[in-house]
């Protein structure tokens, strides 16, 4: 017992050290831009850089569209699977897990070859089409997380009973989804949305291979050419990720508790 606790502390402290030292080092490095004193100069330079602002805005917009696409794709599907097609469940779950197995670089490689300018569906021949393909690629990346978040949300609220109750009261499908199901899984959907945001905002591979002016390629470019700004950007990116995750944590407190389980 006693020695167990000792080792638990050792493990915890070593782990904490491994995870905090890089953060501290990066913070320190990012403040070294002015010789001989600590300053936030690197942050000032980065935040004032118009390319930063443009690429960041681009990625935020892409993330928003990704979230919309993801919600439209996942919520009705997960709902329908729970309600009417449980036999399809293993297939759909398998598909949603595929993006964890097939690397993003392979997926985007496939896009480039399948949707080039002389293909039947020439996404890549226009800027808008390429942007759409970027959003689609992001939605694919986020699919496993979005699906699991929504499906867990649906599991806790007993979809079938809610739907039947709404039907007895004479509600149609649009009403059922928008007024009954969505509000109840809103927390789950929002969690999925913020996770999607965290994944997408600094994504490099797809954006770079589709030549989009996104935040990820911008980061990479700064990394190759500057010394102190990358550290500042790393801290900014960490704070963004932290923010998204904290929102998810806070949201989870408002999630409806399972109706089936006691306690």
């Amino acid at each position: 017992m006693k020695s167990g606790k000792f080792w638990a502390w050792v493990t915890f402290i070593l782990g904490a050290a491994y995870f905090f030292i890089p953060l501290i080092a990066t913070m320190e490095f990012s403040m070294r831009m002015k010789r001989g004193e600590y300053s936030f100069e690197a942050y000032r330079v980065v935040l004032g850089d118009p390319r930063f602002q443009e690429s960041f805005t681009f990625s935020v917009v892409a993330a928003v569209f990704t979230i919309i696409l993801g919600v439209l794709l996942v919520v009705p599907t997960a709902y329908w699977i729970r309600l009417r097609l449980p036999q399809l469940r293993p297939v759909v779950e398998f598909v949603t897990l595929l993006p964890l197995v097939i690397p993003a670089i392979v997926i985007v490689f496939g896009y480039i070859r399948m949707y080039g300018s002389n293909s039947p569906l020439p996404f890549l021949s226009s800027d808008m089409g390429t942007n759409a393909l970027l959003v689609i690629g992001y939605a694919t990346l986020a699919l496993p997380y979005m699906y699991r978040a929504v499906d867990t949300g649906l599991r806790t609220i007993d979809v079938r009973t809610l739907t039947e109750a709404a039907q007895i009261l004479g509600a149609g499908w649009t009403t059922i989804i928008s007024r009954v199901i969505l509000p109840n899984v809103l927390i789950a959907v929002l969690s999925g949305a913020f996770l999607t945001f965290a994944i997408v905002i600094g994504e490099f591979t797809i954006a770079s291979l589709l030549n989009r002016p996104a935040f990820g390629p911008y980061l990479q470019n700064i990394g190759a050419n500057r010394a102190y700004e990358p550290a500042a950007l790393a801290i900014i990116a960490f704070v963004i990720t932290w923010g998204c995750m904290s929102v998810i944590q806070v949201l989870s407190r408002f999630a409806p508790k399972s109706a089936n389980r006691p306690n």
Binding site: T11, P22, W80, G137, A231, L233
Partner: protein, 303 residues
């Protein structure tokens, strides 16, 4: 499911309220998932199949194994080898360290805040990958990084000892930054699932702590553990951004070779590019098939 399709056409003409719609099967039932299926086919499955097929074709579209054979050329083979090494090392190390941390916070008798702090932080760190992570490690262990500088000031020159953040170990150490937390996040619920009473029952039956672990705890968490190791493996095997930002193209892992190929056909053979992509899917797919096989074989006790 043939009987289902029979009743379909007969009922398809009528418009029914949702409650009765369940009586008619195939067409309307499946419409509900049609958007998803179409999306998955168009943007996930077909693009992948396209590459896989391409890997077995020559420039004229005829079947060939040449591209696969070509994978054995030294640069590509070396790339696969280093990718596999980094992925195996970072997934195994990440898995064991993550497991140790999870056990420490769940079962170690630490105060409650350590658990919530670790889980919150792990949630963040498991998603903190890509280019910024490379920056953080350069700032830490690069030639001018804080740790490098501090160690040098006490007379330990990491780079003199052959360490380089732009190397196998450097990359592995960096990947652990998201691998360990990912393990913690996934395995903690599995450890929570180990009931306190099991240990107590085992103790009253005379078992030592080690016997209890060997006969109950390890077999119980093993499936989740192995599944997560496979996930961690795939996670690092396909990752490119961190490595690219960290090492440029000085460390030729497979995704970086493929990236260069997509950008500029550096191999001067488009179909060889497909073969490299196929090889990546093959390896992560193989890992998953092994996992599924293992699970169905040995986990009869899982519902």
């Amino acid at each position: 499911m043939t009987d289902i399709s029979l009743s379909g056409p007969a009922a398809a003409g009528k418009t029914l309220p949702p409650a009765q719609a369940s009586a008619m099967r195939l067409p309307t039932q499946w419409l509900g998932v049609a958007p998803f299926i179409i999306f998955a086919l168009m943007f996930l499955i077909l693009p992948t199949l396209y590459l896989i097929l391409g890997a077995f074709q020559n420039v004229d579209g005829a079947f060939t194994l040449e591209n696969i054979v070509e994978l054995a050329q030294p640069t590509i083979r070396a790339a696969y080898w280093i990718s596999i090494k980094v992925s195996v090392a970072s997934s195994l190390l990440g898995a064991f360290i993550g497991l140790a941390i999870a056990i420490a916070i769940v079962r170690g008798g630490l105060p409650n805040w350590t658990r919530s702090a670790t889980l919150t932080f792990s949630g963040v760190a498991s998603q903190f990958a890509g280019v910024p992570l490379a920056f953080a490690f350069l700032a830490t262990l690069g030639r001018l990084g804080l740790v490098t500088v501090l160690l040098r000031s006490v007379g330990v020159d990491l780079y003199q000892y052959g360490f380089n953040v732009l190397s196998f170990w450097g990359l592995t150490l960096t990947y652990l930054y998201f691998q360990i937390p990912l393990m913690v996040v996934i395995i903690t619920p599995a450890i929570d699932g180990i009931r306190k009473e099991w240990g107590e029952a085992a103790a009253t039956l005379g078992a030592t702590q080690w016997q209890y672990w060997r006969m109950v705890v390890i077999p119980v968490i093993w499936p989740s553990f192995l599944g997560t190791v496979i996930l961690l493996f795939a996670n690092s095997f396909g990752a490119i951004a961190t490595a690219y930002a960290l090492t440029g193209s000085s460390l030729n892992i497979v995704p970086i070779v493929l990236y260069a190929q997509i950008r500029g056909d550096v191999l001067h053979n488009a179909n060889l590019g497909y073969a490299i992509a196929f090889g990546m899917i093959f390896i992560t797919g193989l890992a998953n098939i092994f996992y599924i096989w293992f699970r169905t074989r040995s986990e009869r006790w899982l519902k």
